[in-house]
Subunit: 223 residues, 2 copies
């Protein structure tokens, strides 16, 4: 006879609650139902991601960091999303990387999502934490990226496609792009002028198992 | 009776001979034996990538652009490498994206390769074409990236791994990283201090079907 045990954690996430990139991993794990351990890293004001212990784990000094139960350390957010999809999504729906048509679109949209860190993400750091960067330039880049996404989603709507890697099911591409788009109001970039983005954000928020983070509204708050 | 016809081109590449990102596609197509059409775009001094016709094809105004025989337009270099691997490598060796172990490493290294465009690539544009950017900052970022790659390759050597996605066969990860690493001397970043990088560059240059570009030496020139 045994008592019900907690499921074994699949990975440890070195996590900062206000980071959009950390949230991508929390969101993917929640949607896929993957249990994990979380270690809070004091990114600000503590700059703990630059501590000796964290640099030993990730010499690039970025967050998040993922350490899998097998001891693999991943430091690039899209690689973590790939790992989750390949190892913890038995149906293989979330990471269709081997699909000859959707695979290249998945790469394209996940790259776009990573790029948002340097536009919207940087503008947000500047607005929220007085990060020492050219905030106006970052905001311009963020606006350019939002416009490009709006155009892409509008063109996709015409083809009846709801999700960024194409087809009728969400993928890691949507999760790679969602956080910094949803968080862009933190940087003074609201969604009023982007109807296709607003619909897509709503679809992502409606996914079963969706979890939120500070700065991203729950669906019921939008109704 | 028919005369031997040229094989049908699989895609059209909008190409600039001095671009490291364009070269990634030429190199991948050469190694996989994929026939394609090439359209030269006068990036410099003509800025033809910003012409109305090119912006209609790729609103982001970047090169390369790939148009497949099926009419799919791809504008992100890693997505083009994925497309080539998924559609024109019958053995599936060059793009092991669905491998639970190599797949995430492939993503990580391909992202690193894309990032080199903004460090080594920008320093090279500054050095060669007087591009109006902070050349010293770009060179510092380039040196940081080369050091990081040297550390990674050195750690991999200890595990007996020769190629960036792990294992014993090259992949699109190597092709995504090779050009700007090989071209870094154009930006004043030579390879003298990086023995692991030098060995890896040599391995890539030794691949059957390897083609070169201006600024990248043929193997016989190094002997």
């Amino acid at each position: 006879m045994s008592l019900a045990a907690s499921p074994a954690p699949a990975f440890t996430l070195y996590d900062y609650v206000l980071s959009g990139n950390c949230y991508k991993i929390r969101l993917a794990a929640a949607l896929l139902g993957v249990p994990y351990d979380s270690i809070a890293v004091d990114f600000y004001p503590g700059f703990e991601h630059r501590s000796e212990a964290m640099l030993a784990l990730n010499p690039a000094g970025t967050l998040p960091v993922m350490k899998t139960a097998d001891g693999v350390v991943l430091t690039e957010t899209n690689a973590m999303l790939a790992w989750l999809g390949l190892n913890h999504d038995p149906g293989g729906r979330w990471y269709p990387a081997a699909d000859p048509v959707r695979g290249p679109r998945l790469v394209e949209a996940m790259s776009f999502g990573a790029g948002l860190t340097g536009s919207v993400g940087l503008a947000r750091l500047h607005a929220m934490l007085d990060w020492p960067v050219d905030g106006a330039a970052a905001r311009r880049a963020g606006k350019r990226d939002l416009r490009q996404l709006e155009l892409r989603l509008t063109a996709m709507q015409i083809d009846g496609e709801d999700w960024l890697a194409g087809g009728t099911a969400p993928s890691m591409a949507d999760l790679a792009c969602f956080p910094y788009v949803a968080l862009s109001p933190d940087a003074g970039l609201d969604h009023d002028g982007y109807p296709a983005i607003r619909s897509w954000l709503y679809r992502v928020r409606s996914l079963p198992g969706f979890v939120t983070m500070p700065g991203i509204h729950d669906l019921h708050e939008l109704r």
